[in-house]
């Protein structure tokens, strides 16, 4: 069954920071949505429907916030759809919005992800006592640390690879005015000397806690053709999930991740992944996930992702596959928006609109998000030409 074409015609982001005390949740989402409409040269009335995502409601304690946010998003009387897939939600939300265009249901869809972590406590929310188990897991870091430990042993990677990723992403963030962390004077030694929080994860190798929202306007083929600005055409989309525990589960390189990657690259007709993709926005909340996902996504052989990091292949300066030129999740983490930011930054790169962190001559980009216990995956490939 053939799909209609879909294009990213507008991107809008808030400045990401620890506390956006000047706006409510509604003000926050409206700011990103307004900027996306402005970029798309559209007004609220042009939008047919809204697809919105965020992390679980108990983070901020506002249940079904999409109901009360509909008005702030110019959506009263229009369809609004909420997506839930934990940390990958920003990516999955964009893919649900894409499917509404591809299916021919709507012409113009506004999609948005947000989080107001300053009104929430993520470590508490991710450490809730459950009747069946003892309460000793300290947030996401406590969950992913044992997985990273296994990757370090299996790959025999040098100990400081994670620090190299963290330092690179913080350098990249300096070129992105929207990024949360702008650590101008940070040195590599400071990254290495930072205290261990969830050994082997250092404080410097984890993501910050951010407020922020990211929005995109997606349009049909005729909407994309009519745009006065460059647009990014969707060339492939894929989602996969798996249970977070089962016998023999490959936690380091989950099967759902590999199959999601195989699907999305196949849709885009890509065979030489490292050569044919020009830039990647990858979900890396803990530094070691960059080499792990480089392998899982097939950019590197199993056990060799860390070599790309060591060689500088993922650095914006001189790397052949720059990863997270925006600074990534390691520099900005409004959880429900983090996946959407990856997808939106992938669009900005294809549209040559990423400003100081633009990579020259990008024709195709990959946006990637994961969530839960590394069990939910969302990916898209964008290009400067129609598929």
């Amino acid at each position: 069954m053939s799909k209609n074409n879909c294009a990213v015609v507008g991107v809008g982001q808030t400045k990401y920071q620890t506390t956006r005390g000047d706006v409510s949740m509604a003000g926050l989402v409206r700011e990103a949505a307004y900027r996306a409409l402005e970029d798309a040269e559209m007004s609220w009335s042009d939008i047919d429907a809204v697809v919105i995502g965020k992390a679980p409601d108990f983070f901020e304690g506002v249940m079904m916030p999409e109901i009360y946010l509909a008005e702030a998003l110019g959506c009263a009387g229009k369809p609004i759809l909420r997506v839930h897939t934990a940390g990958s939600v920003g990516g999955s939300t964009a893919l649900v919005a894409t499917s509404l265009i591809q299916a021919g249901i709507h012409e113009r869809v506004l999609t948005l992800g947000f989080e107001k972590q300053s009104e929430s406590n993520a470590t508490w929310a991710l450490s809730l006592p459950q009747p069946f188990s003892v309460s000793i897991n300290a947030g996401a870091g406590g969950y992913f640390s044992p997985i990273i430990r296994q990757y370090m042993i299996e790959s025999a990677a040098p100990e400081l690879i994670g620090c190299m990723v963290a330092f690179k992403d913080r350098q990249h963030a300096l070129r992105n005015p929207y990024a949360h962390l702008h650590q101008h004077d940070l040195t590599f030694d400071q990254v290495v000397e930072a205290p261990m929080l969830w050994e082997p994860i250092r404080y410097s190798e984890t993501c910050p806690s951010s407020d922020g929202a990211c929005a995109m306007v997606l349009g049909s083929e005729s909407v994309g053709d009519a745009s006065s600005k460059p647009v990014a055409w969707v060339q492939g989309t894929s989602m996969r999930s798996e249970a977070n525990t089962f016998p023999g589960r490959n936690e380091v390189n989950p099967r759902a991740s590999r199959e999601c990657a195989d699907d999305v690259f196949s849709q885009a007709g890509i065979t030489d992944r490292r050569r044919e993709i020009d830039v990647v926005e990858m979900y890396v909340p803990f530094s070691w996930y960059e080499p792990m996902w480089l392998e899982s996504l097939g950019f590197a052989e199993i056990g060799e992702g860390w070599k790309m990091v060591e060689e500088g292949a993922t650095h914006i300066d001189g790397g052949d596959l720059p990863v997270n030129c925006s600074g990534g999740v390691l520099s900005t983490n409004p959880i429900g928006a983090s996946g959407m930011i990856r997808f939106a930054e992938a669009a900005l790169q294809v549209r040559q609109m990423a400003g100081e962190h633009q990579v020259d001559g990008v024709q195709r980009s990959l946006g990637h998000a994961y969530g839960g216990g590394a069990q939910y995956f969302a990916m898209w490939i964008l290009g400067d030409t129609k598929p």
């Binding site: 005390g21 470590t123 003892v134 000793i136 430990r149 042993i153 016998p247 023999g248 936690e251």
Partner: protein, 193 residues
């Protein structure tokens, strides 16, 4: 753009100089009754007798602990349960150096580990104690440290922590999820494992 027009709001004179409220914190609490599933009831009752139950997959005999009543790989109910020993090994672990909400009693740093019981095919989280954090390693053999008999309840918290048993460690290749792959010849759900 169709932005709404900005409406000028005139405040009454008596509150004009008051600092505006921009943020309110309202801590809330909720208590609820937990009604366990049938497999959970059996497991929680067993804990009270210092027994650990596992659920057996009818497809390939894989053993799940705690038993959720389902084999998620095949979407089938587990119908049989087995008693598991309170000994096993560490599949992987984290040395945590920050406090977590609700467990102010934990001394930092502490080790949370994926415990793989002998005869089980999945791990579950447990606290490791009785050993310096620098000596904890993947494959280390451990045994349960139970609460005193008069403090036992229908809860996983009956096991205070896992302490080294002194037996020889498992090699990394056989520890944790790798153990099942080796035993099953990697013919489980994951051919690339």
């Amino acid at each position: 753009m169709s932005e709404p027009s900005q409406v000028e709001i005139e405040l009454p004179a008596e509150i004009r100089d008051v600092e505006p409220v921009q943020s309110i914190r309202t801590p809330i609490r909720m208590t609820y009754d937990y009604i366990p599933s049938s497999s959970a009831i059996a497991s929680l009752n067993a804990y009270a007798e210092k027994r650990i139950l596992g659920g057996v997959s009818p497809i390939d005999g894989a053993v799940f602990v705690p038993p959720r009543g389902v084999d998620p790989r095949h979407g089938v109910a587990t119908t049989e349960t087995v008693d598991l020993p309170d000994t096993g090994h560490i599949g992987s672990f984290c040395v945590t150096r920050l406090p977590i909400p609700g467990r102010e009693d934990l001394e930092i740093p502490y080790v949370s580990a994926w415990i793989f019981l002998d005869g089980a095919d999945v791990g579950f989280l447990g606290l490791v104690s009785g050993v310096d954090t620098s000596e904890v390693h993947i494959g280390m053999r451990v045994k349960a440290l139970w609460k005193p008999d008069d403090e036992l309840g229908r809860t996983a918290e009956n096991i205070v922590s896992w302490i080294p048993s002194g037996e020889p460690s498992l090699p990394f290749e056989e520890a944790g999820v790798r153990g099942y792959r080796k035993r099953s010849g990697a013919k489980g759900s994951d051919p690339l494992a």
